[in-house]
Amino acid sequence: MPSMGFDMTEGKVSRWLKNIGDAVTRNETIGEIETEKATVDLTAPVDGVFAQILVQPGETVPVNTPIAVIAAQGEQVGAPAAAPTEKQKEAAPPTATETPSQELRDAAAPKPMQAQTAPATPSPSPNGERIKASPLAKNIARENGIDLSLLQGTGPNGRIIERDVKAFLQTGAPVMPSAPATKPAPVTPAVKPTPAAAPTQLVAGEQALSKMRQVIARRLLESKQNVPHYYLTMEIFMDEAMKLRAQLNAMAANDAEKLSVNDLIIAAVGRTLKNFPQVNAYFKGDKMEMHAHINVSVAVAVEDGLLTPVLHNADQKSLKQIAVETKDLAARARANKMKPEDLGPGTFSVSNLGMYGIDEFAAIINPPESSILAVGAVKKVPVVINDSIQVAQVMKVTLSADHRIVDGALGAQFLQALKKLLENPINLVLS
């Protein structure tokens, strides 16, 4: 299972495109891998014969687990080359010149423990305290989708035990201890539509979170909780940039080469970042990590979620290249057909809601990046120029930055430079 990104720990084989015995050539697509973020093509690392499938479609395995065998022409493939799992190691009999009799072996080597079921998710109560519940009670609660914080434990020390969960399952109401409950009454029901009636009628429907949404939830919460964000907003006059865009688009050979406003911004961001290595960096605990490349993550809305495919080396690409590649990137993201390199690593994000008429907004940093630029709509507004009121095309951008490595003044200087470049856009063509 290849790693498709620094934060990828496991992946699912969605399907194999080759049959056993098929010849494969290097870089040929042989299957599809589903990561937490996207489905990506799996390409053959070498020429050879597709000899063995070790991981079936639908199975999820950790990164670096062998998933298939490509043999050289004519090579005989034996047993799977999979490394022994921990369990297999544990179960392996001790080596000895002569094994002792069964009864002694039983005495010496207790049977490996039963496969453990996944631990119950610790459910913090609404006020954040740890909920005391027996492992069995947690187990039953998990199987039935019951939120333990709704229950009142009647076991020792207020522990929630089996009878409490079973009573809740039967009646939909907590077992009431003799003393009145001190907990505030819960407002959100947490029971799945089970045979037991839900305690209230607030819920109209439920939907399990997709893997992507779980990732979005986890990563953005992590970011907002752990990264000290601050926000800088700046107006950028876009008349010149819009003029340039119109000129270039008039010359475009085809639709793919046509520039969007966002392409201009990506180009400007890439070129500006060259002079701001500290913005193009990750905070890494006791150090900051500056990057050799400027890879711009482009936020793309997709069905039921958001992806941030990466445009590599944005500073070095021409406007035309950027126009072509970002279109391609967005199309692949929407089609759930991202390539491994599309997944990153990004070094700076751009999120644009201008097409929805949003004036300005503040975005959440996409970790481990240090900054994200939120782009609003380009609008004609009255502005004061040389003491007279004129009409100008103005766009507001908001930089969200990680204060641990990007201080306010640095962020402001970055925006100044970006503004200067977009207001003198000929430099986008020249650089």
Partner: protein
Amino acid sequence: MADLQITYRDALKEAMREALKRDNNVVIMGEEVGVWGGTYAVTRGLYDEFGGHRVIDTPIAEMGIVGVATGAAMGGMKPIAEIMTINFALVAIDQIVNNTAKIHSMFGGTMRAPVVIRTAAGWGQLAATHSQSFEAWFAHVPGLIVVMPSTPYDAKGLLTTALYSQNPVIFIEHSRLYGEKGAVPEGEFRVPFGVADVKRAGTDLTIITYSRMVHVALHAADELVKQGIEVQVVDLRSLRPLDWDTVLNSVRKTHRALVLTEDWMTYGVSAEIAARISRDAFDDLDAPVERLTQEEVPLPYAPNLEQLSFPDEARVVEKVKAMLA
């Protein structure tokens, strides 16, 4: 063949008599096992029946008894070494742990020391140095098999298995069980090592125990059933190997476990059992694993204090009710 109602003592004697008849390599050796018939009269009559070359009186020298028996076993004999009580096994513990238990491994599998060391746990105004429960000390050691039967049936069946075993066996009897009667088949039969016995089925709580405490648990269970509580009593029978499947399956059914032992709690047999249950049946537990053991004191001589030092029926009942409260 028909079952006989015989005592635990006679059940043991029957197993040895059958072995002495069957196999000339079987000898019994120990202090006063011959002419006197054994301190607890377990070997009474065997000296007369088989003679002094098969039932051998030894000097009072436990280290020597175990050493000679281990050497004889290595040489192909099948000795039964009787250590009068487990308290005296401490004198021989170097032989047992550093020789008997390790012969097979340290000789690269070429030698065996299939000695059966019979000894008695128990108490009854024998005072602090003669009333101890050291099963955990031996069950701790890889290379030894440790069994502790609770009934005449198990006593005979386990001792027969020990007399066929190729490994050293620490066979721990209980002085207060020798007079216990029960049904035992005539003739040879075996109870395998590492197979626990559910002595009573129940649904509300599992008591895991062995030896004399099985009887305490069964009496408590009789009392508890009157109060609507059904406990399951698992008799381990052998401590090493231990039948984890039966223990864990029982706990997975009842969701509560009480380990009841006559040894001390700290680092005792109950510690190992509680640890394993907590790990391997974690998701099935509805309450912490509890233990009821001997009080952690050198056993008093005074009978009232002595009684207070051990779990009895009333205390088991009380504990079980507390666990189900």
